[in-house]
Symmetry: C2
Subunit: 188 residues, 2 copies
């Protein structure tokens, strides 16, 4: 679908219990080995990759639309449960390339946190659970963290022109991490 | 929340079975009397208003965000079931003021159709049912029609600057109507 061909109306099936999208056109897969550099305990990540065969960390299921202003990109984000040392599985996290664009997460399944930060150093966490909508305002970097025992699955929407900037998070990380402390998730 | 105060991250609860939004900040209510001029059978609408005390036709539940580019407006749309003569209950329908903006409907409950049209006269209907996502592309006017026995409830997202243009539909209508023919919905 190029920028010159007008977008046609379309319908897609999403299972609202499991979050499964029927026949996605594109699946982005991040494995444990794609997460090197993100967790505090690099040795624990290496061990996980070695012992568990580099398992899928998270997946994004999409029906792409033209990446032009006025369109809305939507996807299903599925973050598997687990720990790297004492740190809960998380997504890489990103700003948008066009910073001044928001993103909506409507959580369909699982338990977790949406970690958000600004360039000024503000850091906020919002709870994610089935039926919870989290509004990530323009200019806030965002990362999902799965603190539960099942996949954390959300329906996500953002302006189609937004783009992703992963580099800044890869370099700077987030001011806080979500660790398991005495069996409970804790922001430290 | 003014345009100068930065938007903060926020969370909202939405019941994914019923579509109920917890503590909406704004509720738009359209009653049967607000729908004068929209249905083929004006006498049937007048009779319905007279006999049933001008019932609520549809409601929109919102947590407003600044209406500026980059933000995303989201709401729950709830269209009650019923007939005006042989015509199924529907929303007024609208273009966006900024035409080149899309809208997403994720249906949570009920049965119906999303009727869409362009200025060139194209007209398309997409089925709405629980778990069905309908993509309304930029420049397409859109109207929900409830063909079922329970409320048609959808989670909707659109670019916050889009605005609503109801006048063009009030003047021109849609090329097609959804009528009950021999007990079944039919596009005529």
């Amino acid at each position: 679908m190029g920028e010159c061909s007008p977008v046609q109306p379309s319908g897609v099936e999403i299972n609202l219990q499991t979050g499964e999208m029927l026949e996605p056109d594109r699946i982005v897969v991040r494995r444990a080995s794609d997460m090197r550099g993100y967790y505090a305990d690099a040795d624990a990540l290496d061990q996980l990759i070695r012992e568990r065969g580099d398992p899928i960390h998270y997946e994004v299921f999409e029906k792409p639309v033209p990446e032009t202003p006025g369109n809305l990109m939507y996807c299903i984000s599925k973050l598997h449960p687990g720990l790297v040392g004492d740190e809960f599985f998380m997504t890489k996290g990103h700003y948008h390339q066009i910073r001044e664009t928001a993103e909506l997460y409507l959580c369909l399944r699982g338990q977790g946190l949406m970690l958000m930060k600004t360039e000024k150093g503000e850091c906020v966490a919002e709870a994610m659970a089935r039926g919870r909508l989290v509004y990530v305002p323009p200019s806030w970097a965002h990362r999902s963290v799965n603190t539960g025992a099942e996949p954390l699955v959300s329906f996500c929407v953002y302006p189609a022109e937004a783009g992703h900037n992963y580099g800044d998070i890869e370099d700077q990380g987030f001011p806080k991490r979500v660790l398991r402390v005495k069996g409970e998730p804790q922001l430290v």
